[in-house]
Amino acid sequence: MKLADIIPLIELEPVVVIDDPDYEIETVCGCDLMSDVLAFSQEKTMLLTGLTNPHVIRTAEMTDLRFIIFVRGKRPPQETIDLAKEKGINLYLSPLSMFECCGRLYKAGLDSETMRSID
């Protein structure tokens, strides 16, 4: 699913924009546990999370994950924004809850994160 279609679907507000709207998102991971993100995430995964500290960016960096959505309209601190810019990671806010975001994306046909190993 293209980012351009996801933006209106879960009412995204941009915070850090690196990739263009044609970027294709393949899977979504809704998670507040960083080790779970490290366990399962693939490239082309969009992370939905309620955490806004800089370790979310670090975790994304290690897994080559390029899109982070902060749910329930949580604004990340400046240090998180600065690190995302430095590492080339897209940040957006959604005013919706984690459940609502996941539900709308799933209904629209986005696959859930598959629990396969990276290699």
């Binding site: 960083m34 080790s35 370790h55 670090r58 960096e61 190993s117």
Partner: protein, 140 residues
């Protein structure tokens, strides 16, 4: 190529603000060497988990990453306090992390399992009151 040190970095106890810097530097070094992304991702995830473990659970330590033509070897050594029950520490979901660490998204008891999962070979040497050495090998 004979094994050589690619990176060595000291990690301070409780230094959350710098947590991940070593792994980030390693990722950049692997990129410069042209290491395949699937390998580099496994190595950096393993190193990041080890780095956070030192920050969260130990009195401080260091990470050394070795590279040869066959493999990458990540060694995390800390100054203590050692792991009382290794078998339990390896159980998915088991953690001794406090609420602050959990609020950051860590301490869910999956770190060691992740290291094991992404390594081709993983060992833990620990002695209570002394320290712990984790060694993870990822083959090319």
């Amino acid at each position: 190529m004979r094994e050589q040190v690619l990176l060595q970095s000291k990690i301070a106890q409780g230094d959350f603000s710098r947590g991940g810097e070593t792994s980030s530097n390693l990722k950049e070094a692997l990129r410069k060497l042209g290491i395949k992304l699937t390998i580099s991702r496994r190595v950096t995830i393993v190193t990041y988990e080890m780095e956070m473990n030192i920050i969260i659970h130990s009195l401080g330590g260091q990470i050394t990453v070795y590279i040869s033509s066959e493999q990458i070897r990540v060694v995390a050594e800390d100054l203590g306090p050692g792991i009382a029950d290794v078998e339990r520490a390896l159980q998915p979901g088991y953690s001794t992390a406090d609420d602050y660490v959990r609020a950051l998204g860590f301490g869910a008891g999956m770190g060691l399992n992740n290291i094991k999962h992404y390594s081709d070979h993983f060992t833990i040497e620990t002695e209570e009151g002394k320290g712990t050495t984790f060694t993870a090998i990822i083959n090319f």
